[in-house]
């Protein structure tokens, strides 16, 4: 491939894997959210770079969505929610950090082997992007299964979705990308709300939002 163009794309996609690994390492909720914001930021850069080199302006829209929603709005909102709900700020992990990271490395190796075996004649750029995207996706799933806390599960799911976007943009000429990404963003918002409703119900035996008001009221007293 032609030098720096490829290198930067490769670097950004690999950076996404690295940030995913960083998310596995975090044990504080706020730090996890910050790293997730970084994750989305790297995704934004990656998508924007793809838009530039593929000369595909619609990808800029995807990048903007990623930047606004995932790098800014959702982390800030989650920050606020954590503060308001007073959720315990340390993440309760199911297994320790070390084994989780080891499992993460195993997943990266797996996705590399799988992708390089099934796509031997594809364009190297797309091929490696797919390998990275699959790694990000699997790491997101890993975050979801190894964390007990609902917020970190949501974060895991959204990093998974970032992997999907990476996969979609890496493959050239995908006109539906914008729609897919918007649809997914909505889906995520849905899940965020859904999970929180779940949490609320768990705590107060109701999904009625007034329960939250009551709760606040009691705390103020």
């Amino acid at each position: 491939m032609n030098g720096p163009v490829f290198d930067i794309a490769h670097m950004l996609a690999g950076g996404l894997v690295l940030v995913s690994m960083m998310m596995l390492y975090q044990d504080r909720l706020y730090a996890l959210l910050n790293v997730f914001a970084l994750h989305s930021l790297v995704l934004t850069l990656s998508v924007a770079w793809q838009a530039l080199i593929q000369d595909a302006p619609h990808l800029y829209v995807t990048a903007a969505i990623a930047l606004i929603f995932k790098a800014i709005v959702i982390p800030v909102a989650l920050h606020r929610m954590i503060r308001q709900l007073g959720i315990h700020r340390e993440i309760e992990t199911v297994v320790g950090v070390g084994p989780t990271m080891l499992a993460g490395i195993g997943l990266v190796a797996l996705s590399i082997v799988v992708m390089l075996r099934v796509t031997p004649e594809a364009d190297p750029l797309a091929r490696e992007d797919l390998a990275f995207a699959l790694s990000v996706l699997l790491l997101g799933l890993l975050i979801m299964v190894t964390r007990r806390n609902a917020v970190s599960q949501v974060v895991g799911f959204m990093s998974l979705e970032n992997g999907l976007v990476l996969a979609a943009t890496g493959a050239k000429g995908m006109p539906l990308v914008v729609e897919i990404s918007v649809a997914f963003s909505i889906l995520i918002a849905f899940i965020v709300i859904g999970v929180f409703l779940f949490r609320i119900r768990e705590r107060f035996d109701t999904v009625d939002v007034r329960a939250l008001d009551d709760f606040r009221g009691r705390r103020r007293k």
């Binding site: 670097m11 950076g15 690295l18 690994m21 070390g98 993460g104 990266v108 190796a109």
Partner: protein
């Protein structure tokens, strides 16, 4: 004539690293102090400390063995030999093929082995605590270091530092994910190996979390001076290692004449200053960890190094 000048350059490098090492330590202390809005000791304070320690009588515990008295010199000599073969201002020094990167790491391992034994020699609980924790740190730092070396060697096709530096300054390297990850892992390992914050605190005594200082607690006088010098040298070595691999600009090629060497030297000094200042900045902005967070920190370095090696295979499939 060529041989003589080559030997001279090598001797100059050996003298240079020993003479610069305390200055680097002084620089880092100074920058840290200024960042904390303190005046800080003078830049040459480490030299004064070393000279004073050297002139004092050595007080040795009653039941210390010969090992305790020989170890400081051997630790210093081993670290010095390791530092002598790292390209600082020039590549391809005449003895640079004596030890490749694996051997350099192993030489530092020998120094650590002796230091840990010296810590246990007097038979105090502080010495034991230091040695045992140092051993734990080493069990994670050394494999990370070797995996980083694997990544570098797979990229550059060599474990010889001069060749790696030459390859890394050539245009065919480009940006590589595996190298970026390896750099992060290498910095983490270097912080742990040199007992810096957040792994260990070089400026503390009498703290239960200390590692390196606990091992050398019984040393005094000239023995302590040797150990302090070796520690400064090791820090210089790691910073030189990082800069010669990741920013190998203006390294003088062999037999290029005095101008190239001089340019290499000036650039090397600049790199050292920047590296030291960055380290000081990092250290002032972060808090020391609990001892049992260190395995997680180093475990992350190990995992990153492994990840870098794995991603190397993706990059290969071009």
């Amino acid at each position: 004539m060529v041989l003589i000048s080559a030997l001279f350059v090598q001797a100059f490098q050996m003298a240079l690293v020993v003479l610069l090492a305390p200055l680097l330590t002084g620089l880092i202390r100074k920058v840290k102090a200024r960042l904390l809005r303190r005046q800080g000791p003078s830049l040459i304070q480490p030299y004064r400390d070393l000279l004073r320690l050297l002139r004092k009588e050595a007080v040795v515990a009653e039941n210390a063995s010969w090992l305790f008295r020989v170890a400081p010199y051997l630790i210093f000599a081993t670290t010095w030999v390791a530092a002598a073969v790292i390209p600082t201002f020039a590549t391809g020094l005449i003895f640079s093929w004596t030890a490749d990167l694996i051997a350099i790491v192993a030489l530092l391992g020998s120094a650590r082995f002796l230091l840990a034994l010296a810590g246990m020699d007097v038979g105090t609980s502080f010495g034991g605590i230091g040695s045992s924790r140092e051993a734990m740190i080493a069990t994670l730092a050394e494999p990370s270091m070797l995996l980083i070396i694997f990544t570098l060697a797979l990229v550059a096709g060599s474990t010889q530092l001069s060749t790696i530096a030459g390859f890394m300054s050539s245009p065919e390297v480009g940006l590589r994910v595996s190298l970026a990850i390896a750099l992060v892992a290498l910095v983490m390992v270097a912080i742990a190996e040199n007992a810096r914050i957040p792994v260990d605190n070089p400026a503390t005594h009498l703290e239960l979390t200390m590692v390196h200082e606990a091992m050398v607690l019984e040393y005094s006088g000239r023995h302590l001076a040797m150990i302090e010098l070796a520690a400064s040298l090791k820090l210089l070595l790691y910073i030189s290692l990082i800069v010669c691999i990741f920013v190998p600009w203006k390294l003088a090629a062999p037999e290029t004449g005095p101008t190239a060497y001089l340019a290499g030297l000036v650039v090397y000094l600049t790199k050292l200053i920047v590296g030291g200042a960055l380290l000081a900045l990092f250290e002032t902005s972060i808090a020391k960890m609990r001892v049992f967070r260190v395995p997680e920190f180093l475990g992350a370095a190990l995992m990153l190094a492994l990840l870098a090696t794995l991603l190397r295979f993706v990059s290969r499939s071009l």
